[in-house]
């Protein structure tokens, strides 16, 4: 991954990182509220998870933009799934550029990475955005509204009940189980990546 990304890419990388950090901070604040939520107030666990997903996407796009001067901002900033694709491509050259920042512990080998609960959890958080669930629905010949996702309600059939993330999404329940370490680990991973990307960018400005 090249260290010669031109000024525009670095500026956009810094902007994606800054907004990603804002999303992460908001996710943490909402999570604290959810944990101590007074009875009768609406839950915010799904919104906290959605903000974590948004932070993951933006911080990963920041990393993508730093990989090469041959990339264009337009070619990187669209779409969803930047974390999965960055990590899955970085394993081709795991010691170069920003790759070591994102490749946590044994993730250099994708088969080993899939054994790590944190890696699987980050992929699950990312995957539950409407765009990726829409792609999965298309792959399986389902209607987009038939895939469970963060942000919007869904249904398993037009005749069946309508479901929504705060009440019905297993991912959200898993994230906020009292004994679960997944949400704190995901947050800690993103904070570490953000700190290291900040230093990486500062060294190039």
């Amino acid at each position: 991954m090249s260290s010669s990304a031109p000024g525009r890419n670095v500026r956009w990388a810094r902007a994606f990182l800054a907004q990603g950090c804002t999303d992460l901070e908001a996710a943490n604040r909402l999570a604290e509220f959810e944990i101590a939520r007074p009875p009768g107030r609406p839950g915010v666990a799904s919104a906290a998870t959605m903000l974590l997903q948004m932070a993951l996407e933006k911080i990963s796009k920041s990393g993508l933009l730093l990989t090469s001067s041959a990339l264009t901002v337009e070619g990187v900033s669209r779409g969803h799934g930047a974390f999965a694709r960055l990590v899955q491509t970085a394993v081709l050259r795991p010691t170069v550029g920003v790759a070591p920042i994102f490749l946590h512990r044994q993730w250099n080998d994708l088969r080993q990475a899939r054994q790590d609960p944190l890696f699987r959890e980050l992929l699950e958080i990312e995957r539950h955005c409407p765009a990726i669930m829409g792609a999965e629905a298309r792959l399986h010949g389902l209607a987009p509204l038939e895939r469970p996702m963060l942000e919007y309600p869904w249904e398993h059939s037009p005749e069946g009940p309508c479901r929504w993330p705060e009440r019905d999404l297993p991912l959200v329940r898993e994230m906020f189980k009292p004994a679960s370490r997944l949400r704190p680990r995901a947050g800690a991973y993103l904070r570490r990546v953000s700190d290291e990307l900040t230093s990486y960018i500062a060294a190039r400005e």
């Binding site: 090249s2 779409g79 969803h80 050259r93 550029g97 995957r127």
Partner: protein, 112 residues
């Protein structure tokens, strides 16, 4: 005119050799890779599109850049796009698109 033509041929040869070495390296990481394509280009960057079933589906296209690696005889920078087979199908159907600097899908050359 002749000198510049010879230089272009030489650069293109180096780009192709580099692409073949990268393709072989990448296949060692992803042995199930279904196909690897080389995009045209005159900017000295090797652009490879690789169809890999092991990937998670995203429905989006994300290029990732790499610097030269002289120790591995990779003398040129590269940009790699990994796609899931379904994303490759959607690219061919025109419902997904490559970044503009990659040119048309029809101009991709299959390496392996």
């Amino acid at each position: 005119m002749l000198v510049s033509t010879v230089l272009e041929i030489s650069l293109d040869h180096e780009r192709r050799e580099c692409a073949r070495r990268l393709a072989a390296m990448h296949r060692r990481v992803y042995p199930t890779t279904e196909a690897i394509y080389l995009a045209p280009g005159e900017d000295g960057v090797v652009r490879l599109l690789e169809v890999v079933p092991e990937l998670d589906l995203t429905g989006s296209i994300f290029p990732v850049g790499f610097p030269p690696d002289p120790e591995e005889e990779i003398e040129l920078p590269s940009v790699v796009i990994l796609v899931h087979p379904a994303e490759w199908k959607w690219l061919r159907e025109g419902t997904l698109a490559l970044p503009s600097e990659w040119g048309d899908l029809a101009s991709l050359e299959q390496l392996s």
